[in-house]
Assembly symmetry: C2
Homo-oligomer: 231 residues x 2
DNA sequence: GTCTATATAATGATAGAC
DNA sequence: GTCTATCATTATATAGAC
């Protein structure tokens, strides 16, 4: 429960402002958040914010960079197997992302944090690369496309956490919420919404609408989808 | 392609303002959007906006109500089998939700539109009720929980459409985007991320952390999860 | 129903003192 | 590095004329 221990060399006023900004941006959004409010939370004057970050936009960019850095750090720790609670990856991810999850959700929706999303897609691609080898299935769509949709779905819980909490009946940030979410994700992720027959049928219906190169084309190696524009 | 034909009795200035507001709220968010800008798009003065809706918040609430109404209408049409393009449900949903998808995404993220989300969860529950009968699986989580997570995931594409478009390489609002998204969704939804073995293992690991009532408890009928609080 | 004009409040940005 | 004081802009809300 170290909440991703704050960097030792990071207790300066600048860091406090940045952390306060991420909090305010997360809870109120970029537009609604005010430099004055952020400064107050950080315990400094509004002028100092300007001194360190130049402008509100500059402050946002610093927050984005910090978020990307933290995501990278989290990913490295996961890959190194340093996750303290490997049994419940959801709880582990929540615990480590905790302080930044709100900002991540906001930033993604407001169009910022593109680098973070793309980075998560890349990680998802790496994960999919391993998973694809174990499956005889021949995917008819680009691996990156699947990684993108999968990433978006994985982020849905964070982005819509308020509504998900309401639907689940418990706050996602509580241990009970973590547990219920983990159980639910296990069920959903192991329980395909479409059977192979339904999928084949849906694909066939799609092909009837707009014939596509036959499924012999893997399309999983190089991701040049520009062939679709040759009509 | 009737874009959910605008109600005949709805071409009044009030409706134009509301539609313009949904557009502005969707593209710029509630805070950033201005009454003046909305009025200009609607071709009226800012004073008239105040006259009809009282305040910016009142305008937002009207938009939310209209969105809920449209979702209900869309759902009824889907249930009645009136969907023009049944072969590609994604494209169909996009086409009908098109004008409101952006607003829906914004409203959900900004905490509004709770009724819409809950409504979609209910629809998902109904859908799951049918699907559950065909599957011998005994879900160890509430149906509502699964419906909630499933709904959030389904909405993820709309909420993060900008990032998804970037990852897919095509704009989701174009026909090519619809097609690629449909193919990808078919693959993802028919391709479980967790094998039954992995799922069982993950569940077991979860139970080791916090023992839970044995899986003989269906928990799918009534949704009282308060039993979990008896520790 | 619709418009113009104004009041009031809040904000980001800035300049300069310590 | 940090603060206080101020400027200029902008937006909502309002009042009143047509």
């Amino acid at each position: 429960m170290t909440t991703t221990g704050p960097d030792p060399e990071d207790l300066t006023a600048r860091a406090r402002i940045r952390d306060a900004a991420m909090l305010h941006f997360a809870e109120q959004g970029f537009e609604r958040a005010t430099i004055r409010g952020i400064a107050e939370t950080a315990g400094v004057s509004s002028g100092l914010v300007r001194h360190h970050f130049g402008s509100k936009q500059g402050l946002r960019e610093t927050c984005d960079a910090h978020l990307a850095k933290m995501i990278r750090k989290l990913n490295d720790e996961v890959r190194s197997g340093q996750v303290p609670d490997q049994a419940n990856p959801v709880a582990a991810a929540n615990a480590m992302m905790g302080p930044y999850r709100g900002y991540l959700a906001r930033a993604l929706v407001e169009g910022s944090a593109e680098a973070v999303f793309d980075q998560m897609v890349e990680l998802s691609e790496e994960w999919l690369a391993e998973a694809d080898e174990k499956r005889p299935d021949v995917p008819d769509v680009d691996r990156k496309a699947r990684a993108t949709v999968g990433t978006a779905m994985a982020l849905a819980i964070a982005v819509l956490h308020k509504h998900v909490s309401r639907g689940l009946g418990v706050d996602l940030f509580t241990p009970e919420g973590d547990l219920l979410l983990a159980r639910t994700l296990i069920d959903v992720y192991s329980h395909p919404m479409l059977s192979v027959e339904d999928a084949a049928e849906a694909r066939a219906a799609l092909n009837r609408l707009q014939p596509e190169p036959p499924p012999t084309d893997r399309g999983a190696r190089s991701r040049q989808r520009k062939e679709q524009h040759h009509d």
